[in-house]
């Protein structure tokens, strides 16, 4: 065996992220599942570190492990999902279908990976790709070369990828508005609350029609 330290760490961290991912779907207890998901995310962050993409690694921990997963745990605890939920469910048509789709996805991923495992072509493609970022610049930013630094991430996001960034932001905004609309009660309920002051959960959802 001729493993360098980086190779060895790659296998360790890959095992952590894949194993963590498996444990997420296999564990009965939702809190355990959430903790394994954190482990898996941290494993992915470590892979980013091995690629020397430190910024991405830190963001992965900050956003996913630090904020999103806290929300997950929060919801799991509030809803009090016990370890038994989902146990003993039958092999319904829906389940078979979703299993089939999952298999299809894995197959597609495998085929694509094998097809494009000629690493060289992909690498040069992406290099050219980033070259564009530096070439399209105005005079002020002409000397910014693409690198791992935060600055070049910011430069890319605010020049070439401005539109995708805005679209992604708009999508998130739409999702947020959707959540508010779905969870908010009607106006007359608000007035009712102001008058009496009971919790909004006591209202009748049918009043939305009126």
């Amino acid at each position: 065996m001729n493993l360098s330290l980086v190779d060895f760490l790659f296998y360790v961290f890959s095992a952590i992220s894949v194993g963590g991912g498996l444990a997420v779907i296999l564990s009965r207890n939702p809190v355990t599942a959430a903790m394994f998901m954190i482990l898996s995310l941290v494993g992915v962050a470590s892979l980013f570190v091995l690629l020397e993409a430190f910024f991405l690694a830190v963001l992965q921990v900050l956003v996913y492990a630090g904020a999103v997963m806290v929300l997950f745990l929060f919801i799991i605890m509030l809803m009090d999902v016990g370890p038994d939920s989902g146990k003993g469910a039958k092999l319904s048509k829906k389940r078979i279908l979703s299993g089939f789709i999952a298999l299809l996805g894995v197959g597609l991923l495998t085929v694509l990976t094998l097809e494009y495992s000629g690493v060289a072509t992909v690498a040069t493609d992406s290099a050219d790709h980033w070259q564009d970022v530096t070439e399209e610049t105005s005079a002020a930013g002409a000397n910014i070369v693409f690198s791992k630094s935060v600055k070049s991430f910011g430069y890319g996001l605010f020049t070439k990828y401005m539109l995708p960034l805005q679209v992604a932001g708009f999508l998130l905004l739409a999702a947020m508005v959707g959540v508010i609309v779905l969870s908010k009660k009607t106006d007359d309920v608000d007035a009712h609350n102001k008058a009496d002051g009971p919790s909004p959960g006591t209202t009748n959802p049918q009043s939305e029609e009126a």
Binding site: V58, V61, A65, L73, V150
Partner: protein, 372 residues
Amino acid sequence: MDIELIQMLALKVTYAVVMVSVVMSIAGYTVLAERKVCAWMQGRVGPNRTVLPFVSAIPIIGPFLRNLGIFQPLADGLKFLFKEEIVPGHVNKFYYYLSPIVALVPALTTMTVLPFGEFTNAEGHTTPLVLANVDLGILFVFAISSLGVYGIVLAGWSSNSKYPFLGGIRSSAQMISYELAMGLSVLPVFLWVNAPGMTESGLSLVSIVNSQENAPWLVLIQPFSAFLFLIALFAETNRLPFDMPESETDLVGGFHTEYGSFKFGIFFVAEYAHVVIGSAIFTTLFLGGWHFLPWVADPWAPGLIGSLLGVGWFLAKTFCLIFFFIWVRWTLPRFRYDQVMKLGWAKLLPLALVNLIFYVILVTYLDQAAAS
């Protein structure tokens, strides 16, 4: 493995152990400071009984140290160690044992990127004194400290009883709310330091400190950012007036109600380690780090003595902030939970956004003015 690598590893491990022991002893003595300061504020004397046998024999110094309570943290630590460990029958054992560790580890990890001084050798080459001089300093601190909430949440959940659970829920809601405001409040600082015409420094904490040498401290340039950051810091360290997860009066002991002996001790020390690290981060960002005074060059010559004085000066600033933390705790009453949420989302976050936009416009304006 060759001998140089082993030497380097041994040196790094020694540095890390020294750093951890210094921060932990500061945290331990912060507990004492808290008890003493609160006693003085309430017209009491505070801990003044504990003393080591042979020290009490020294004529004047012995009683003085005893009255100061210098040996109290030692006695408290021993007490935590030797108390009977009670594990309630209704807890989820694995997470019950895990959560104190999860609470302490982030507090100790953030200190790796914390610069506390610099050393200039005979050739005039300056090295910052920091365990790991990471480019992404502040992001690293935020990322790691955001993991600290798991300790509290898991403790609340695994205790499997009402009050700790409520403490855990409150804590996670509070952490999520104030993390945003905290991140947004330091953005203008980095915007300012990286503005066109300034030396480009990225997100490194060392360069933030160096930008404040012979220049006004950032707290003078951006008082509002500093204020917002300080409020968010209080919330993130769970200190009064934001100690929602604990709130003894309505939740018994909050998330650590079911914990005893050394596991409680770890939670306790983790909270104070957070306070110490938080104060040090604030000093680095806004109070000029190890540099002397705003606009004034360091009066000490570079070299060993100078760098020691610099570290001492940094520690002095940090201690002042720790005192401020204690002072606020024994002055202000606790917020209600809904007030905390309202303050976080409806006041602090919009203010941080306004602050950010203001400095974006200001930096752009200054850049344009300089260009024309």
